[in-house]
């Protein structure tokens, strides 16, 4: 099962078995956002507290999902805690760039979709690098990005609310 070892790296299985920041936060004051992977039924709930300095003071992850979506969300929660929203967005971009380089190859034709380019693509990802193996399994990219997309949605909503 050589291919599988790339996907299921030890650190991923560790996050899957012992997810960090699992649970709920009282909402409000926390923001609660749900994400769905319509393909496989995975559901993720992100609870996030952002203080007046736009800093993520706490984050919790709920829901059910496969090893990749759970591990990715767990790593994400560890990585974003204490970061500002801008830093979170940069990290998200870096992570998605790592994933989306291959997303454009789905369908074997990259003439239409263009690779999202970003100044932040070289940001060090730390543990998250372990998820790089996912790009060899394009179907699972959606699993790896589920938590991130849900967090992005939460941040967007937060910003809209603050702006109003």
């Amino acid at each position: 099962m050589s291919g599988l070892e790339d996907l299921y790296r030890e650190i991923i299985l560790d996050h899957y078995r012992s997810p960090r920041n699992k649970g709920e936060l009282p909402a409000p004051p926390a923001r609660r956002t749900e994400g769905f992977n319509p393909l496989c039924g995975d559901e993720i709930v992100v609870f996030v507290n952002v203080d007046d300095n736009d800093t993520v003071t706490d984050i919790k992850i709920g829901g059910q999902g496969c090893s990749i979506s759970q591990a990715s969300a767990s790593m994400m929660s560890a990585a974003v805690k204490g970061k500002t929203l801008t830093e979170v967005e940069e990290l998200t971009n870096s992570f998605k760039t790592m994933m989306s380089i291959h997303e454009t190859d789905i369908g074997g034709d990259d003439s239409v979709t263009s690779v999202e380019s970003s100044a932040t693509r070289d940001l060090p990802l730390g543990d998250l690098e372990a998820l790089r193996g996912v790009v060899k399994f394009p179907v699972r990219i959606k699993c790896a990005t589920l938590g991130w997309n849900t967090l992005t949605q939460a941040i967007d909503e937060q910003r809209n609310d603050t702006a109003q």
């Binding site: 099962m1 291919g3 599988l4 996907l7 299921y8 299985l13 393909l39 496989c40 039924g41 995975d42 559901e43 829901g63 059910q64 999902g65 496969c66 090893s67 990749i68 979506s69 759970q70 399994f137 699972r140 699993c143």
Partner: protein
């Protein structure tokens, strides 16, 4: 090889007709266990379609020349084959759609819009596929309908203890003949007579039953029955709505366009009669022809033989998986093989369905993880997803053995 089972059902011979199954993946024989999502199709079906395209193709119904006449005859011949296969009293009761989903939307959009008013109730079951839920929810939102749900027992059988109360005053019951998650064969006799006694029409989602056992819509007594071609050895792009002639006659059209009218002026249009009334635009001509060929193939094997083969295979699989995986596996659905189809949804302890399927793929075993478009049922069972293996006439005990073996590997991989 156990490819010919106790009934003499010759899987090895059947498999020769399905070239796609004759492939290896990383050196292993491909084991296809996802026919509940979509079946494979025999060479005979592809040949029938190619033959139509290569010798007798033109748009149907409106041509005088011989090519168009041959194409029309092939298309209408397919309608007759479908009618015969499901015991319809006339081919005019058979409407071709693009899939079962469109057929259900047609019933809801045409019959439902014409007959349901605010406050009316529609009864569904907790086993339903989204195709038999969402269209009703869309109309319910538009019309303020009430949707009532027939509950489900823990073993996947419908709980009919409150059926009469649920049906009281309801206008329609729309229910699956066989669950695509648990394999449950629903108690159609009881459901149809209770619904009719309550004055409700009955819509049957027969997507999973028509491909696997003999069907007689007239004996079933329902008002509408829908199914898809791609789950019964036919091509993609074709579904069937069967409806009682008197309903089809009374219903307004669903989609408007060419082929469904008697007359059009700048002031308005006059619809044609069924089935033309419901087939706007160029129909899936060659797909219907392919479905006709699929029916010929199924009939050459025999629907009763197919059903018996699948019951035996399911019984074997239930025994085998329980024996090999013991308490680390949960199998959804009725324990008794005769009460279910060849669809096994499972949960493997500590391994998410998505991961199960990934590891099985490494063994060239194709199963489907997910909610199977039945999220209300998933929520009832308290799972986000199951791993589903499903059987058809080309599967045998070797396939079940490969399934069991790879499930053991998946369990062990995650238990490290």
């Amino acid at each position: 090889m156990t490819s010919s089972d106790s009934t003499g059902f010759d899987v090895a011979k059947i498999r020769k007709d399905f070239p796609i199954l004759d492939q290896t993946q990383a050196g292993r024989r491909l084991v296809f266990l996802d026919s509940a999502a979509s079946s494979q199709r025999p060479q005979q079906v592809l040949d029938a379609m190619d033959n139509a395209y290569l010798t007798s193709y033109a748009n149907v119904h409106r041509g005088v020349y011989q090519l168009a006449e041959r194409a029309t005859n092939l298309y209408e011949g397919a309608r007759k084959r479908v009618a015969g296969f499901i015991g319809a009293s006339s081919p005019d009761e058979v409407v071709f759609t693009k899939n079962a989903t469109e057929a259900l939307n047609l019933v809801v959009g045409s019959w439902g819009r014409a007959n349901l008013k605010p406050g009316d109730a529609v009864v569904l079951s907790m086993l339903e596929h989204h195709a038999n839920i969402v269209p009703w929810q869309m109309l319910a939102a538009e019309r303020e309908l009430e949707i009532r749900w027939i509950p489900v027992h823990d073993d996947g059988r419908l709980d009919l203890s409150e059926l009469d109360r649920l049906l009281d005053g309801a206008k329609a019951l729309s229910v699956t003949a066989m669950s695509n998650v648990t394999g449950t064969l629903t108690q159609l006799d009881q459901l149809v007579s209770a619904a009719h006694a309550a004055g409700a029409i009955v819509v049957v989602d027969a997507c999973q039953s028509v491909p696997h056992m003999s069907t007689n819509v007239t004996a079933m007594g329902a008002d509408f029955v829908v199914f898809s071609g791609h789950k019964m050895l036919g091509p993609t792009g074709i579904g069937v709505l069967w409806g009682r002639a008197e309903h089809l006659a009374a219903m307004p059209p669903f989609l408007g366009g060419g082929g469904m009218i008697l007359n059009v002026t700048t002031e308005g249009f006059t619809p044609d009669v069924a089935p033309a009334k419901f087939e706007a635009g160029t129909p899936p001509i060659v797909e219907a022809i392919g479905l006709g060929a699929a029916i010929d193939y199924l009939e050459s094997i025999g629907m009763d033989a197919i059903r018996q083969h699948e019951v035996e295979l399911t019984a074997y699989a239930l025994r085998k998986l329980t024996a090999d995986l013991g308490s680390s596996i949960r199998i959804f659905g009725p324990a008794e093989p005769h009460e279910r189809g060849g669809v096994l949804s499972i949960e493997l302890e500590n391994v998410h369905a998505h991961d199960v399927s990934q590891i099985l793929d490494e063994h060239a075993v194709c199963i489907r993880p997910g909610h199977h478009c039945a999220k209300p049922l998933m929520r009832h069972f308290g799972v986000a997803a199951t791993a589903r293996a499903s059987f058809y006439l080309y599967n045998d005990r070797d396939d079940v053995d490969a399934l069991a073996e790879s499930l053991v590997a998946a369990r062990d991989f995650f238990a490290i």
